[in-house]
Assembly symmetry: C2
Homo-oligomer: 206 residues x 2
């Protein structure tokens, strides 16, 4: 199978959201031109992105919204449920937890961990914040697929290593540090400082 670039996958996520909106709005068909306009890209790009996975459109008409929606869910792997653990129950962890859109999209938070005794034992939704020591046991018993790392920078590499040893195959990192993980683990990082510095750079050159 052909290798798909990260930017392509990011755009596919964008198309998925646009199609959900179009579907909710009752549109039965949508053109590459329309997807491009709303997603901030070009129609040729949209067609190339989709053509890698198949021919979903009808010439002269565009793409049937419900079908393409289904296909994109398949492609991205969100037609199923993923078990997610939240490591770190601080400000960011709590904001992420209450972002219920996750659940709706099939990412179910099954466990929450923290090292702070004041946090341990708190009830979050139907879950109890577990102590750091329970990490390995709980990740295994809950068959966690993905770990969201939301601990201080100093602690991030250590918990990520432990999560990977406990069978986690994907990590989403919010700590401001570049984690070193085996290539077999899918990795994404969200870093506010990087984004703000990117904006500063853009403003700096006028």
């Amino acid at each position: 199978m052909k290798k798909i670039s990260e930017s392509t996958v990011r755009r596919l996520s964008g198309y998925l959201r646009l199609l959900q909106e179009a579907d909710a709005a009752g549109m039965s068909t949508i053109s590459s031109e329309e997807l491009a306009r709303r997603g901030g890209t070009t129609s040729a790009q949209v067609r190339k992105d989709l053509s890698v996975f198949g021919s979903f459109g009808k010439r002269g008409l565009g793409y049937p919204v419900p079908d393409l929606l289904h296909e994109l869910r398949d492609i991205l792997g969100v037609n199923r449920t993923w078990n997610v653990a939240l490591i770190g129950a601080g400000k960011i962890g709590s904001a992420l937890f209450s972002y219920r859109d996750f659940q709706r999209r099939g990412f179910h938070i099954r466990a929450v961990f923290d090292a702070d005794p004041a946090k341990i034992g708190q009830h979050w939704g139907g879950l109890t914040v577990q102590p750091d020591e329970r990490l390995e046991a709980s990740l295994r018993s809950e068959r966690i697929d993905m770990a969201i790392v939301a601990v201080p920078a100093e602690a991030a590499q250590a918990v990520a290593d432990r999560a990977v040893r406990a069978g986690v195959r994907a990590v989403l990192n919010f700590a401001p540090v570049a984690l070193q993980l085996p290539d077999s683990v899918a990795y994404r990082a969200v870093d506010m400082a990087v984004e703000l510095e990117g904006l500063a750079f853009a403003l700096n050159g006028q």
Copy 2:
């Protein structure tokens, strides 16, 4: 001046952080090899990235840490202070606000807004959460450079438009929607769903 790609700028942010760590650790010099290893790239890439802006290294030795740190701050535009407004005082807004690393890095939150009467008037640090109606006036009087959009998806485009009309030149968007803004405005988006779907895609193909 040569156009710099977004991925280059992202890597420069990474080098900046690594240099801060190296500086704190008392290292006086660092090689492209070392920066590459810690930053997850290659030494040739590091040298190419830096060479666009000048010759900062010494052959046979590497890069002088304090000098390169200073240069990178200049390049990225973080040797000065930026005035930031936080639009939306919900869970994400509050997590972002308390992320004091911003201040340390020169991004000062000068104003917070929300449309919810229960939030308006709350004291956050030295700031008072202001009503939505005050947006334009306050953005102008505080000379806000950047707006962080942390409102629900439905409200995001409208507040972003108003912020831009009030003179904001950069937008960091946390709402799960693609904002349409003039090219003159620097734009970055952080979207949890996109990241999680990227991980799901990676796991899906084994």
